[in-house]
Symmetry: C2
Subunit: 329 residues, 2 copies
């Protein structure tokens, strides 16, 4: 006999159970979850699609990566506010064929991510569907008045990014080519399969009031930077030579690989893009743990996004990142 | 040129904009939304799928009904806790062909529901997909300690339901048969297309501490009552003759219509199922506004669900409501 919805929900609740400091007054099994908010904190709310065919391939991506990444993507939005994720809702629609081993492996990856990010399952909804369709809503909190918005950048602010840009896109390409499991251990493929939201950096930038604006890079710098600039009603000047590019081991395959193009347009990195007043720049270290923090340009009054090429030549940056209504992956 | 994701988000934000008393510190357009919680209140969290093929038919259901119902379903979960919905996140995946007129009509129904339920759009995620896939997460609040859970029913408590059971199922059947638009005005079809979550009744039952347990009826009494009983570790005895059945005008089509079966197994009603200590029963009126409140049985110590037939004969109730992993609608 096939598992009914109630049995599925019980399996999910069991796989995701862990003790956390989070204030979950009531979790899975009732009509809704109850969470006790912390006095002096604002509630952070976000959600993200993770769809077969658009965001992952059912037969190609390891189920535990799908579980990890569906939560990591949404948690990254909380990181981008300087917040701390506390709970999430899992909405899962799967074919009847995917309620066994596939689901167990998916839940294992999801549980690992939930523990890593300190984010507890509070509820959700499960149903059947021909395709695997996932939606994750994350709830978090941030000290009132300390959230870092997209709209706070001012002309003259310096523009920073965390990590190396284009690494996940390189990982995706390598993953697509890969014929055995060994390539999964390369850092780019790992970043494609198991991205790490920059929670600690985001929280530090917010708590120390270092960042004037912030967002996460999910669609690629060329698509996301214009969004930050639009929200702040400013422009930007980016120096491509300063972009933190992927380190490619050896010289192999470098010919057909434009690392600058990759850094500008590669999506799925879940790095943070943030701005800092020049007077505060000395407070930004060159790295945070093992993660480099790179100054890549500055905010301008003129509302255009310019690339400063070697020799000072300037060109306009076009959005070439990920847009589901313009591309098919 | 096709609308990109950013333009879509702007259209959604515009269609859903309305002034409310809700404390939305930051809405659409940033990485996440910020909400200021009310001191002394718990946060209520819930989400619901609304999928083409499972929950509605793309070419048959009016887009504004899809917009209304996707929010009403999730808001009903908040009503079932005795809570007040304040904000929601809309996750919408649609084919490229559905970003024009269909979307406008969908958003119109959604906006009407949002105003009616006092529930403000705080954010979401949009992407493209072959099928229309909707997920709505609702955030609400309830005074700390006043939420009504599924787990509070005690042996001897009386069992109540709001409204008339099976009405939405009857409406679905009528809607499927209907060849013109006029049948849409019949109360059952209206309930199928535009269900009304019982917010005021739920809040009143919670504030007055009348209900010992509560849930909403989304899959049908025969599927949902066992869930409430399992959470409370009790059983129930239901008197079918007391079920508030649908009023069918005239005698037409009554032959092939078993109103008791409809009341037991019909889904999508979004009525409230709640229990009351016998000493408090005098506080439950026969109706709340125009909505009948009916006592349909009592909670028992023995963990079975029994139906008391005329003459006192008892039979076991089997779950014949909606389960996506067992049925296809």
């Amino acid at each position: 006999m096939k598992a009914g919805e109630d049995q599925l929900v019980q399996r999910i609740a069991k796989a995701l159970a862990f003790k956390s400091g989070a204030r979950l007054a009531l979790g899975i099994g009732d009509d809704a979850a109850l969470v006790a908010p912390t006095a002096g904190y604002a509630t952070v709310l976000t959600c993200d699609w993770f769809l077969e065919g658009s965001h992952f391939l059912r037969d190609k991506h390891p189920p535990d990566s799908i579980g990890w990444k569906c939560l990591a993507r949404a948690v990254s939005d909380v990181a981008a506010m300087g917040g701390e994720p506390t709970h999430f809702l899992l909405s899962l629609a799967v074919p009847g064929t995917h309620t066994g081993l596939w689901l167990d492996r998916f839940l294992r990856g999801l549980a690992r991510a939930a523990r890593r990010f300190g984010c507890q399952l509070a509820g959700g909804d499960t149903t059947r569907s021909d395709k695997i369709v996932i939606n994750v809503a994350v709830v978090g909190e941030v000290r009132a008045g300390r959230a870092v918005l997209r709209s706070g950048a001012k002309p003259g602010d310096l523009i920073y990014v965390t990590g190396r840009l284009g690494e996940a896109e390189l990982g995706l390409r390598s993953f697509r080519r890969g014929r055995n499991a060994s390539h999964r251990n390369s850092p780019p493929v790992k970043k494609h399969l198991y991205p790490e939201p920059r929670l600690a950096i985001g929280q530090w930038l917010a708590a120390e009031r270092i960042a004037t604006s912030m967002m996460d890079l999910s669609d690629g710098l060329s698509s996301d930077l214009p969004r930050l600039c639009a929200a702040s009603r400013v422009g930007a000047r980016i120096v491509p030579s300063k972009l933190p590019k992927v380190k490619v081991p050896g010289e192999k395959k470098l010919k057909d690989l434009d690392l600058t193009e990759l850094a500008l347009n590669g999506g799925d990195d879940y790095e943070l893009l943030f701005t800092v007043r020049p007077s505060q720049a000395r407070r930004v270290p060159r790295s945070f743990g093992a993660i480099p923090l790179s100054c890549i340009g500055e905010i301008t009054r003129e509302r255009r996004i310019l690339l400063v090429r070697p020799g000072g030549r300037e060109g306009t940056l076009s959005a070439r990142g990920w847009d589901p209504f313009r591309h098919r992956k």
